[in-house]
């Protein structure tokens, strides 16, 4: 589904990512771990198409099509979703209106009519219930005054509504208490199928108890330096990252 080949990318001519290779197939869950500043969020942003990042070498394909030159909205229309580490506050635009706009814009891009209001409402209700989101929450301004946990839950709600093929969860666990973490993880697991894939970016192993990865990758200095199965996550939790550095030397 997603193939990243020898990717060098960064800001103002300086590569933050230095030769990333990664393949994510349908039905898989990948975890990307690594210390602060290793390039995890950069990788997520580059895949989602953030314009300030320049791709200097290599390429990204999604379903066998090179997406390196596509706008963020075009990537979203293809089914790529990024759950933000720091979701942006948009005063005056309610969660409901925002998600309606996002869904109908995506449908429009695919030449489809707007989703009928009744269908939209039903879907909103269903997904909100799944994530134990209060109905009142949906009429609030997007992310404005939301707690850290509410913001993250709202990201997963958007994911549930947009039903992406590839979801990249950037530090979704930060700011969540254990109950909220379980709800969010449970939501992600229920959305999981053999046709879609999830990339979990995290600092800690904690989230991976609930969203169990098929593969774990360690990102350091813009490179994937080690890959393994979920056991690697436990090892990292126990020993930290230093032993990998030593191994590399």
């Amino acid at each position: 589904m997603l193939k990243i080949k020898d990717l060098y990318a960064g800001l103002e001519g300086k590569d933050i990512l230095q030769g990333i290779n990664l393949e994510v197939k349908a039905g898989e869950v990948h975890a990307i771990m690594g210390p602060n500043g290793s390039g995890k969020s950069t990788l997520a942003s580059v895949v989602a198409g953030k314009e300030e990042y320049e791709v200097n070498r290599g390429y990204i394909t999604f379903e066998n099509q090179d997406i390196s030159e596509l706008d963020p909205e075009e990537r979203a229309h293809k089914g790529i979703f990024l759950s933000f580490q720091y979701p942006v506050e948009i005063p005056g635009v309610s969660v409901t209106n925002f998600i309606k706009t996002a869904i109908n814009e995506t449908r429009k891009a695919k030449g489809k009519e707007d989703m009928p209001a009744s269908e939209m409402l039903k879907m909103i209700k269903e997904k909100a219930d799944m994530l134990e989101i209060d109905r009142k929450f949906l009429s609030r301004s997007l992310n404005e005054g939301f707690s850290g946990g509410e913001k993250k839950r709202n990201e997963i709600f958007q994911m549930a509504m947009l039903e992406p093929k590839l979801a990249i969860l950037d530090e979704t666990d930060s700011g969540l208490d254990i109950d909220a973490l379980k709800i969010v993880a449970n939501g992600v697991n229920r959305l999981k199928s053999k046709d879609n894939a999830v990339v979990v970016i995290t600092h800690y192993q904690r989230l991976l108890d609930y969203i169990v990865p098929d593969f774990v990758h360690v990102l350091m200095n813009g490179k994937i330096v080690k890959s393994g199965t979920k056991e690697l996550a436990y090892e990292l939790e126990e020993k930290g990252y230093d032993w990998i550095k030593e191994e590399l030397v």
């Binding site: 314009e51 706009t101 814009e105």
Partner: protein
């Protein structure tokens, strides 16, 4: 000879027109002296130039060039179906409609039933209104040259008198159409609004050119809020690109009054808003809010004054501006807190987004504080779109244009959300959507 006449400056043309006007005037009226004094002020000062501090960023030169006709006494007929869209027709309202400065009875809905919503011309001429005219007319207006010019030529406009304790049940619309039947037209509406003790009123003012001929409006509105009165005033400026306006609004607040003015500046060629609040009694609350969205070569200058004269008063200013292409915005917000105006709470905020590189905003907050126990704050920002926010919206599948539109809505929302007439809010939403060329399929 004709050539010589053409060369006459607009100022000279106005001065000679005044002499002609005098022949028609009420000689025994005390107003005659007011007019004579006013024309002297105008003669002395002339039109303001960029040399004056308050006009540093706005030049009237270009809008004073056309050969304006100063009078139009012919009644113009316009059909309701052609102008219906300019009215807030979704709800019942009182209406004062002027076409080329002349009252249009067909489109208007006036009243004398427990309140007066009628014409300045009749208020000036009928003896029963004389006490009100004498007590209020030109009593809060400043003697600057443009206001004086309007005062000298005062002829027509809205006269609204709300008696004490009257809560006006529906909004009042003041609409000034210009047909452009004269090649270029100079209009000077003069409005007087007196809101009695504990009375409530909502007013919507609009100026609309119906042709592409040039129009210059120099409007003066005086509003008097007697104690505990509530005045909610909305100015919709969405005129043609050939229409320019100088709006001079003066609000006198007695104690315990709430006065709010929202200015939606979306259109026109050059617009100058001189909005002045005078807090004369304790516990006054003044709100000045505006959304400005400009493009092309539009130029809008908001020049506000809040004069805190009495203690324990509040003022809230919130102006949002979005400037595209080579448009120019000016915000000059002056707050004066007099020595006696202790415990004043004055707040001023002005946020601007420059959408294109060629757009300009000149922002100048001015605080003159002579009292020592006051809370005054002002904030001014000039920026571009937040790239992170744009990326967030686009990553959800929302296109660049629509994402920008959403951010514009979000940006303007603090002003829009305080519009108290729901139908008007919907209208303004639509105007904003039109202006930014995007329909989002929902109302805020």
């Amino acid at each position: 000879m004709n050539y010589e006449l053409k060369k006459m400056s607009f100022k000279d043309k106005l001065l000679s027109s005044y002499i002609a006007l005098e022949d028609y005037l009420e000689f025994d009226s005390p107003l005659h002296d007011v007019r004579n004094n006013a024309i002297k002020i105008f003669e002395e000062k002339g039109f303001p130039t960029k040399k004056e501090e308050a006009w540093k960023y706005t030049s009237l030169n270009s809008v004073l060039k056309p050969d304006y006709s100063v009078y139009s006494n012919k009644e113009r007929n316009i059909e309701l179906k052609n102008v219906r869209k300019y009215f807030l027709h979704e709800i019942d309202t009182y209406k004062l409609v002027f076409v080329d400065g002349v009252y249009n009875s067909f489109l208007s809905e006036t009243t004398h039933d427990s309140l007066d919503v009628c014409l300045m011309s009749s208020a000036l001429n009928k003896s029963k209104y004389k006490p009100v005219i004498e007590a209020y007319f030109n009593k809060v207006a400043k003697n600057d040259s443009l206001t004086a010019l309007n005062t000298a030529f005062t002829k027509e406009g809205a006269y609204i008198h709300i008696p004490a304790h009257k809560e006006v049940e529906k909004p009042i619309e003041i609409i000034n159409f210009s047909t452009g039947n004269e090649a270029a037209m100079f209009l000077q509406p003069r409005n007087l609004i007196v809101v009695g003790e504990n009375a409530h009123v909502q007013i919507i003012e609009r100026h609309q050119s119906l042709s592409s001929n040039e129009v210059l409006t120099n409007s003066v509105t005086e509003i008097f809020a007697e104690k505990r009165a509530y005045v909610d005033y909305y100015k919709i400026q969405n005129d043609e690109a050939t229409a320019s306006m100088i709006d001079n609004t003066y609000i006198s607040q007695e104690r315990d009054t709430v006065c709010r003015v929202h200015t939606f500046a979306f259109g026109g060629n050059l617009v100058r808003n001189n909005l002045n609040f005078y807090q004369k009694g304790e516990h006054c609350d003044s709100t000045l809010k505006g959304i400005t969205i400009l493009e092309g070569k539009q130029h809008v200058d908001h020049n506000t004054l809040v004069h805190h004269i009495a203690p324990n008063c509040e003022s809230h200013q919130d102006y949002k501006g979005l400037f595209a292409e080579s448009s120019i915005g000016v915000f000059n917000g002056k707050i004066i807190v007099e020595k006696d105006a202790q415990k004043t709470d004055a707040f001023q905020q002005n946020n601007n987004i420059l959408i294109d590189d060629k757009a300009t905003i000149n922002a100048k907050p001015q605080l003159e504080i002579f009292a020592d126990d006051v809370k005054c704050s002002h904030g001014c920002t000039i920026g571009q779109f937040d790239e992170e926010a744009l990326f967030y919206l686009r990553s959800r599948g929302i296109g660049l244009k629509e994402s920008r539109a959403l951010l514009m809505y979000a940006f303007a929302n603090t002003v829009l959300e305080s519009v108290k007439i729901p139908e008007l809010k919907v209208r303004i939403n639509k105007l904003i959507a039109n202006k930014i060329g995007v329909s989002l399929g929902f109302e805020l």
